[in-house]
């Protein structure tokens, strides 16, 4: 694998055939992933695809059945490395009898931060998540959204090199989501690697460098989002009749891929690398002798790719 050999120098996460089986149930079948330093990495998949189990394996919470994993160059969960990692669990539950400031102080202690550094950093992260005026409030009084914010603060307390965020906006209102988005940009600009588990595709699209699609515990595909936005288009055509001549003419076009063709309805789907090719496609159709009724270009969204990759049969989960 030449690509991984290039990145080998600074892979923050590197897993090979990581697998987790609970009795007869396979939670993660084969997780092979490389995440380089500084990347905001999105991990997408339907419910039950094994996303959270994967994250837990990378953090040493769940012990893999087989396979290997290195996180920041060490075994997952190794105490020395955990000082450089932040984690917001999917079920952000904390000791609710504590006050917000106390909770962060506890976690600061567990990170091994000296008391003056704790004090400074706690006020920083509370401000970062917009909870400064709630420092002395007990967590029992917190709403779910506020608990998720305090969870984020907890995950960023040690100024980590690598942050795992498992569904970080599940309980947040739009303000909270905007906050997380700007937090992610901020982390990225500081070179922090982020592993983002989410099924809010819009959010992932707005923040991630690269996403992996996972289904039934297997990585199906990894895409670089820059490519997604670089101008690729999906084009739908409707013609009167699908002749072999049309078919071969379209297939011969440069930077164009014929996705589907339904002869009965005359519908065709093409993937096109650039908008500039659209007039040429129209000309090709006409030149082949077919009559063109519709030519509809669509920008690809992450949602469409998700549906293509994961499969529409999973939509009901």
């Amino acid at each position: 694998m030449p690509q991984s050999a290039v990145c080998m120098t600074d892979l923050v996460i590197d897993t090979r055939a990581l697998r987790k089986v609970y009795g007869r149930k396979t939670a993660v079948a084969d997780l092979t992933l490389q995440v380089p330093r500084g990347e905001v990495f999105g991990f997408l998949g339907p419910n039950g695809a094994g996303k959270s189990t994967s994250v837990k394996m990378l953090l040493g919470l769940v012990i893999p059945s087989s396979g290997s994993a290195r996180v920041l160059g060490a075994e997952p969960g190794a105490a020395a490395v955990m000082a450089r990692i932040g984690f917001l669990p999917e079920h952000f539950r904390f000791h609710e009898w504590m006050r917000a400031g106390e909770l962060l102080d506890l976690h600061g202690r567990l990170y091994g931060m000296p008391s003056d550094a704790r004090r400074r950093r706690i006020s920083d992260v509370l401000e970062l998540v917009g909870l400064t005026e709630h420092t002395r409030r007990p967590l029992t009084d917190f709403s779910k959204g506020m608990l998720q914010r305090i969870g984020l603060a907890q995950a960023l307390l040690n100024d980590p090199e690598l942050v795992f965020l498992d569904e970080p906006t599940s309980a947040l209102d739009p303000f909270g989501r905007i906050l997380v988005r700007s937090l992610l940009h901020d982390l990225k600009s500081r070179g922090t690697t982020v592993f983002l588990n989410s099924h809010l595709l819009g959010e992932v699209e707005a923040t991630c460098d690269r996403v992996a699609f996972i289904k039934e515990g297997r990585v199906l595909q990894t895409i670089v989002l820059r490519d997604l936005h670089a101008g690729k288009l999906r084009v739908e055509l409707r013609v009167d009749a699908m002749t072999p001549a049309l078919h071969s003419a379209l297939s011969a076009l440069p930077a164009t891929e014929l996705l589907t063709a339904e002869p009965e309805s005359g519908l065709l789907q093409l993937m096109v690398a650039d908008e500039e090719l659209l007039p040429e496609i129209a000309a090709t159709v006409l030149a082949s002798g077919a009559r063109l009724y519709a030519l509809t270009p669509q920008r690809l969204t992450l949602e469409q790719i998700f549906l293509d990759v994961i499969g529409r049969e999973d939509s009901g989960q």
Partner: protein, 275 residues
């Protein structure tokens, strides 16, 4: 080391914040007040014709009654305080944000164990110290081997605490509680079968008691403490505290090993389980 201390501090802090400490203290003081008033009334109303030896029996019997209650409270407190601490934090997922810090799993478990052991030790010290002080001040009476008795009661708590943490790594809070109370009930009835069997000279009944003590040595520790803290002649009179068949030192050693093994297995199991 500082990580263990942080978890121990957290354990104390939680017990305090959740008002467990306050409630236990208030009720403990109430218990001592009732014991003190009752004991004082009995001593001041004593018929002057009652001889010195009989008086001492009476004082010792009352003192043992007080200790019996403290033993029972210690058992309850050890179970209730610790039964939810592992399984509860696993179920609620609070453990996830803790374990993913630069702390090792064994440090979390040892920190909790130390916290509860110290908490119950202090409580036990206050209650037994209070009883001994009342008896010494009001009647100028001191039982034999008081310190050994208190230490044995503490060992009871440590046995239950270790077993509770072990079961907590496998069972739900409810199942853990049921297990501990049933085992205690088994040891309790086993101990009575052993005592009565011993009085009636039935070796088979004594063996039943020994087997239940091996399964759960807590009641045997109490009977050893009671045996040590009574004048030898009193142990022959059948009272709830008498030791017709007193547990030996070997049983104390066994209980220590039992607690150590339970804690060791808890560490091993907690170190390997998925969270």
């Amino acid at each position: 080391m500082s990580h263990i201390a942080t978890i121990t501090w957290l354990t104390f802090h939680e017990a305090w914040r959740r008002r467990m400490v306050l409630l236990a203290l208030i009720l403990g003081v109430l218990f001592l007040v009732i014991f003190g008033v009752g004991f004082t009334l009995i001593v001041t109303n004593l018929n002057p014709r009652v001889g010195v030896i009989e008086r001492r029996y009476g004082f010792n019997l009352l003192l043992m009654a007080g200790f019996y209650v403290v033993h029972f409270l210690t058992v309850m407190l050890a179970i209730f305080a610790s039964v939810d601490t592992i399984s509860g934090e696993i179920t609620s997922h609070t453990i996830q944000a803790i374990i993913t810090k630069p702390i090792r799993r064994w440090q979390v478990l040892i920190g909790k164990w130390l916290g509860y052991a110290a908490m119950i030790g202090i409580y036990l010290g206050l209650l037994t110290g209070g009883i001994l002080a009342v008896v010494a001040l009001v009647a100028d009476y001191q039982p034999p081997n008081a310190l050994a008795g208190v230490v044995l009661l503490w060992l009871e708590a440590l046995v239950l605490l270790s077993l509770s943490l072990l079961a907590g790594t496998r069972l739900s809070t409810l199942s853990n509680g049921v297990l501990l109370f049933m085992l205690y009930g088994l040891a309790f009835i086993g101990a009575w079968v052993e005592q009565i069997g011993s009085l009636l000279e039935s070796p088979a009944a004594v063996n039943i008691g020994i087997i239940t003590s091996l399964l759960m040595p807590v009641e045997a520790l109490w009977r050893r403490a009671a045996y040590l803290m009574q004048p030898p002649v009193m142990t022959a009179i059948p009272t709830p505290f008498s030791g017709a068949s007193p547990p030996s030192t070997a049983m104390v050693v066994y209980a220590l090993l039992y607690a150590a093994l339970a804690l060791g297995l808890a560490l091993r199991r907690f170190g390997r389980r998925d969270l």
